[in-house]
């Protein structure tokens, strides 16, 4: 049984039909990359799983239970975490408060903060600063850290390397790679080499449908399959 399974998922924004029957599955313990051009619906897929934009049709199951119709916070409490593409840190909360908000059990706060600060030492330096005044990249780190501390079973990660300096990308990659030992991930990433490196398997999304998938082991970024769907 897959940990997460999407079958025939259709999602709309108002009248525009974005997902036109997405099928995919994520097994316990693996990292799955979701690739595709801008605007094909990658982010929408993640939002649909979280029920932020509920599907109009199709099934989404997590540990064999349907997520469709649940409230987002209920989905989250079942062990799904989200690292959104536009960061969405709480600008008026301090760095530390941002992290605390993601840790449900008061007893876990200390460990959680430790984990975050070890992964991104800059955050410890800035723990009392209002998150809104961090630089763009620092905010991205905070967003990632906030996803990691939540003690989730499945992390939905949307473009974690966006706007990061190469060196930090390495840090992020390492943090994610380390985290992937404990947590299953569904990863959207434009940086294809990075994505392929982190992931065990990949799906390619085009025009709201999964058009291809496979193992990452033997493919490289300039594989014909990617060229077809990712280049113009």
């Amino acid at each position: 049984m897959s940990l997460l399974e999407l079958a025939g998922v259709h999602t709309y924004y108002g009248d525009s039909h974005i997902l036109e029957g997405v099928d995919l599955a994520v097994e316990e313990g693996e990292v799955v990359a979701l690739a595709g051009r801008n605007g094909v619906g990658k982010t929408t897929t993640l939002r649909t799983i979280l029920q932020l934009t509920p599907p109009r049709e199709g099934s989404i199951t997590f540990r064999d239970e349907s997520l469709v119709g649940l409230e987002t916070h209920e989905v989250a409490s079942r062990g799904l975490g989200w690292i959104p593409e536009d960061r969405r840190i709480f600008g008026q909360l301090t760095v530390e408060e941002n992290l605390r908000a993601a840790i449900p059990e008061p007893d876990d706060v200390r460990d959680g903060l430790r984990l975050a600060f070890d992964s991104f030492p800059i955050l410890e330096e800035r723990r009392g600063q209002d998150a809104g005044t961090l630089s763009g990249g620092q905010q991205q780190m905070l967003a990632i850290a906030r996803g990691l501390v939540g003690d989730n079973d499945l992390l939905l990660v949307d473009e974690p390397s966006e706007g990061l300096a190469p060196q930090i990308v390495a840090d992020v990659a390492e943090a994610l790679s380390k985290a992937s030992d404990d947590v299953t991930m569904l990863l959207v990433e434009q940086n294809l080499p990075l994505a392929l490196d982190l992931a065990d398997r990949f799906y390619i999304l085009d025009k709201g449908r999964v058009v291809d998938d496979g193992e990452t082991g033997n493919v490289t970024a300039d594989d014909e399959r990617f060229r077809r769907y990712l280049s113009a």
Partner: protein, 329 residues
């Protein structure tokens, strides 16, 4: 003339009296405004119905007192019953607040804040007319204070007490005490509980907070309900004070000062609200003194409250403790 008045104003007994009455007013303002601050500052909902609900609280509190107190009830029993009434009214209005939030405020969160202002504005019209209808049934005059409720106050609260050269009323001291209790209670709730953090996170980004497992809706319901509960509790306190009293105009009389306090203090800061209540309460007490003793202009007290608002916003556009907008990235 003015100088003479100034000399009198600065005597210990006059100044002391003004300060005590200023503190008492501040305590009332803080009680009136704290519910509004919670709802406004944290949820971004400017609750126009706040004054009306304070008014409802005053009548409900009065009703409880009128029903339970008889001519022979001992002063301490009256005081005890009063605390029971505050708790009951708080509970009742909390439930009412929860109901209002879940039924009509909730659908509006993803709309611009103006819609919440509008909705609660409409609610005010409804609440006030319903109260009028009910008062009509019992033949109570909506414009004047409910005297039977005032009569349940124990005698000693009407009496003066000497604090050194300053003479103050027991009522003022009682109000100051309740004001302090309210402030401490709310402060502890916001900073010592996880709920406070959830509330602030939820008010910034609902989607993100819910994706972290926070039941934002429930958080908002609780905040709104508590805010309304506080409005009701404040109303019950006002019901015993002849300068306010339970009457329909109480709604408007409390709403504008509460707005002023919240704005002067700065959005979303409870600390700001407390300080602003002090500023506004003192300004009120001082102008009241000057109006009564030296200046004939009848609009003075009202004018000064609005001038405090205007001047504060000119000098500190974000209010006393408001945060400046976070710069763009």
């Amino acid at each position: 003339m003015i100088l003479e008045a100034l000399a009198e104003f600065l005597t210990l007994s006059e100044l002391g009296g003004v300060i005590v009455s200023g503190l008492a007013k501040s305590a009332l303002y803080v009680m009136i405004a704290s519910g509004l601050t919670l709802i406004f500052g944290l949820m971004g909902v400017l609750n126009f119905a706040h004054g009306s609900l304070t008014m409802v609280g005053a009548y409900l509190g009065g009703l409880l007192m009128v029903v339970t107190v008889t001519g022979g009830t001992a002063p301490l029993t009256r005081l005890g019953l009063f605390f029971v009434a505050i708790v009951v009214v708080f509970a009742l209005l909390t439930v009412l607040g929860g109901a209002i939030e879940t039924t009509i405020i909730r659908p509006l969160y993803d709309r611009p804040p103006i819609y919440q202002i509008l909705l609660t504005f409409g609610l005010t019209l409804v609440i006030e007319e319903v109260v009028r209808i009910v008062l009509g049934i019992y033949d109570l005059q909506p414009l004047s204070d409910w005297q039977a409720a005032l009569a349940t106050k124990p005698q000693f609260l009407r009496e003066p007490v000497a604090l050194g050269p300053v003479s103050a009323g027991w009522m003022s001291l009682f109000q100051i005490l309740l004001g302090i209790v309210t402030v401490v209670g709310i402060w502890a709730f916001l900073t010592k509980t996880r709920y406070g953090l959830y509330i602030r996170a939820g008010s910034e980004d609902t989607e993100m907070a819910s994706a972290l497992g926070i039941d934002v809706r429930q958080v908002f319901t609780v905040v709104f309900a508590l805010g309304i509960g506080l409005a009701g509790a404040a109303g019950t306190l006002l019901m015993w004070d002849p300068t306010w009293g339970a009457s329909v105009p109480l709604a408007a009389e409390t709403l504008l000062p509460a707005f002023i306090v919240v704005i002067v203090g700065g959005l979303g800061t409870f600390r700001g609200t407390v300080v602003a209540a002090l500023v506004v309460g003192m300004a009120d007490a001082v102008t009241t003194w000057w109006f009564q003793n030296a200046i004939q202009f009848t609009g003075l007290p009202e004018l000064v409250l609005f001038l405090v608002l205007v001047v504060t916003l000119i000098v500190r556009p974000q209010g006393l403790f408001g945060v400046e907008e976070v710069g763009g990235h």
